[in-house]
């Protein structure tokens, strides 16, 4: 499903060149739930962003769903993200100007789904994360856990094959964190969604199929 070979990522600023990722090799099978762990600044988020096509590797091979992605242009990347990938971020990144339902509809918009089916799909997704009653609230009117659940609904509304979660529990207390993890496991088991999750929390990591550990941009386990 996801295949990284000899991936390097360097950031260039004025003078300094920072090596963020070094020679990463990683394969994730369909339906697998993998967590990435490591101290701050070790490159976890960079790695996730590369897989999510939000950033491009400096060199190495990246294949998603069997196809090489290096040569894709902006439009192709956009449509792949739209159809095959779902994102959950640590700080939720909900659009504050839009109501819950409108936030969840965003991926479908770029898929040109019509109004009525779009609403139905969005409601189903919200139902799935237990927020059917908050459809017409604005994000700021919700608690952190609820906001993250909206974000998950948004990530799954397009039924992506791969779900990428960047510290989805990082801004939440442990009870809410548990709720979120339950939802992710439910998705993984029932829908067979491949999930890659960056986390700090050993407890949550242990519940996943496999743990990848990074240190200073290198893979250590």
């Amino acid at each position: 499903m996801i295949s990284l070979q000899n991936i390097n990522k360097t950031y260039r600023t004025d003078r300094v060149e920072t090596l963020a990722l070094q020679n990463i090799n990683l394969d994730v099978a369909p339906g697998e739930f993998v967590s990435i762990m490591g101290p701050s600044g070790c490159g976890k988020s960079t790695l996730l962003n590369l897989i999510g096509l939000l950033d491009a590797p400096s060199d190495g091979k990246l294949a998603l769903d069997g196809s090489e992605v290096q040569k894709w242009n902006d439009t192709k990347l956009a449509s792949f993200r739209n159809e095959k990938l779902g994102f959950v971020f640590q700080s939720f990144h909900l659009v504050p100007d839009l109501k819950v339902i409108d936030n969840v509809e965003i991926p479908l918009l770029y898929r040109r789904t019509n109004g009525t089916p779009r609403q139905t799909l969005a409601r189903n997704a919200l139902d799935r994360v237990g927020l059917a009653s908050r459809v017409h609230h604005f994000p700021t009117q919700l608690s952190g856990g609820q906001q993250q659940r909206v974000a998950i609904a948004r990530a799954i509304v397009g039924r992506p094959r791969i779900l990428l979660a960047d510290e989805p529990t990082g801004n939440l207390d442990s009870a809410m964190g548990e709720e979120i993890m339950d939802i992710l496991h439910d998705l993984n088991r029932k829908d067979g969604t491949t999930i890659v999750m960056v986390t700090h929390d050993e407890r949550f990591a242990r519940r996943t199929d496999r743990i990848v550990r990074l240190f200073d941009g290198r893979q250590v386990a």
Binding site: N49, G52, L54, D55, D74, T75, L77, A78, S79, F80, R81, N82, E83, L85, F87, F89, H93, L94, V95, P96, D97, L98, D102, I106, P107, L109, Y110, R111, R112, G115, R154, G158
Partner: protein, 413 residues
């Protein structure tokens, strides 16, 4: 998709009230200025009553005489028109008239400032005055020097309290005229149509004018179709090539043209020497002035837009992460901006109607009625949409180039 963009746009605008207010202030003010300018230009140049047929009409209003020491540009004289303009081929009808001269009349102990134009009979055939009462004088009236006059309804109001003027006598310029027709007032910007009182050329006090090459006259010719303009102009030019100079020591070159109203303004502003490019030059000047004026508002709107977009950097990141391509995003922001400018345009439109009526009340341009018609409304919509696109594209482009990762971090443009 578009409906959704618009929905989002309206939501964003409602929630960012201060930015919305600044943007709308700038946009509507800019459009008021542009619309007032367009309405005035339209008022001057577009064919409208009584000059409705002026898309088929060419006029001779200036003659330039040049010599080794000096040159001068004035109105043509009666003799010039008779000799060089009358009888051109391909011309359906032709009229000659004096410029409208400001005069004072004394009526029942009151002093009234007015304008008098003396014309021939054909004037009333080429121009389409809508007579409120009575009718025009004829070529026969002109030949027989009948002392008859047409006045405007404004004059009728001032002179006769708005009661029927037919058959009444007015005393003007030391002569007495019998009123035979009343027409609606004409804007002073209408070079040929404007006057307040019209009388036959034949009633001029002397026959001195008949041999003059320069003087106080003008002429128009009505072509069957604008396609004939070129041929008519060519023939006129050939005739001028044989111009007889009365005073060859001082003047040895003559310039005159058959002009459309726009060309006439170009000729007066830019001078005779530019020949064919005059119209282009004037157009370029007008466009340049508009662009110069629009620079500051555009920059203002662009920087506000950039700010608004930066504020929404994380939203852009999200949208990119969920599959929006750069093109889609540019589209979205341009649509947002166009929605904003159209709202500003609507406000601006209402304000310009008010501004125009204020201009009309101030009588900066006497007798002008700046009606806001469909065409001007169309210009307004066009102008605001163009303004919206111009000021929206650059910020949107900058934004769409932002790396999704940076955007999510609330990154730097």
């Amino acid at each position: 998709m578009l409906a959704n963009y618009i929905k989002t746009a309206l939501k964003v605008l409602r929630r960012r009230k201060f930015f919305t207010f600044i943007s709308l202030f700038g946009i509507s003010f800019t459009l008021v200025v542009l619309m007032v300018a367009v309405a005035m230009l339209d008022n001057v140049f577009s064919p409208r009553q009584p000059e409705s047929r002026f898309d088929h009409v060419l006029g001779v209003h200036t003659v330039g005489l040049y010599g080794p020491h000096f040159g001068m540009t004035t109105n043509p004289g009666y003799g010039f028109i008779n000799q060089y303009v009358r009888g051109l081929k391909d011309v359906e009808n032709m009229s000659l008239f004096t410029t409208s001269s400001p005069l004072t009349m004394y009526h029942e102990g009151r002093k009234i400032d007015t304008h008098l134009r003396r014309t021939d009979g054909a004037y009333w055939q080429i121009l389409d005055f809508k007579f409120l009462e009575g009718g025009p004088f004829t070529e026969e009236d002109n030949r027989n020097a009948n002392f008859v006059a047409v006045i405007t309804d404004e004059m009728r109001r001032t002179l006769f309290n708005g009661q029927s003027a037919l058959g009444r006598t007015i005393e003007l310029d030391g002569q007495r005229f019998r009123v035979i027709g009343v027409v609606p007032a004409v804007a002073i910007t209408r070079n040929v149509g404007f006057s307040e009182v019209w009388a036959p050329v034949g009633t001029l006090k002397t026959r001195e004018h008949e041999k003059r090459m320069i003087g106080d006259f003008g002429a128009i010719v009505l072509a069957r179709s604008p396609r004939d303009f070129a041929a008519i102009r060519r023939e006129f030019k050939e005739r001028l090539a044989n111009f007889v100079f009365e005073d060859p020591k001082n003047f040895d070159r003559v310039e005159a043209g058959l002009d459309t109203p726009f060309e006439l303004v170009a000729r007066n502003m830019i001078g005779n020497q530019y020949q064919g490019n005059r119209v282009l030059v004037l157009q370029a000047i007008l466009v340049l002035m508009a662009l110069l004026f629009v620079t500051l508002p555009t920059m203002n709107l662009v920087s506000i837009n950039l700010s608004r977009i930066l504020e929404r950097a994380s939203e852009i990141g999200v949208r990119k992460a969920f599959g929006a391509s750069s093109v889609t995003l540019i589209g979205q922001f341009v649509v947002e901006n166009v929605v904003l400018t159209l709202i500003g345009g609507a406000i601006g439109f209402v304000l310009s109607v008010l501004a125009l009526s204020a201009v009309a009340r101030l009588e900066i341009v006497p007798f002008a009625v700046f009606d806001v018609n469909l065409r001007i409304f169309g210009y307004g919509v066009l102008l605001s949409a163009a303004f919206g696109i111009i000021s929206g594209v650059y910020p949107a482009w900058r934004m769409s180039r932002m790396q999704p990762v940076n955007a999510l971090r609330g990154g730097v443009l």
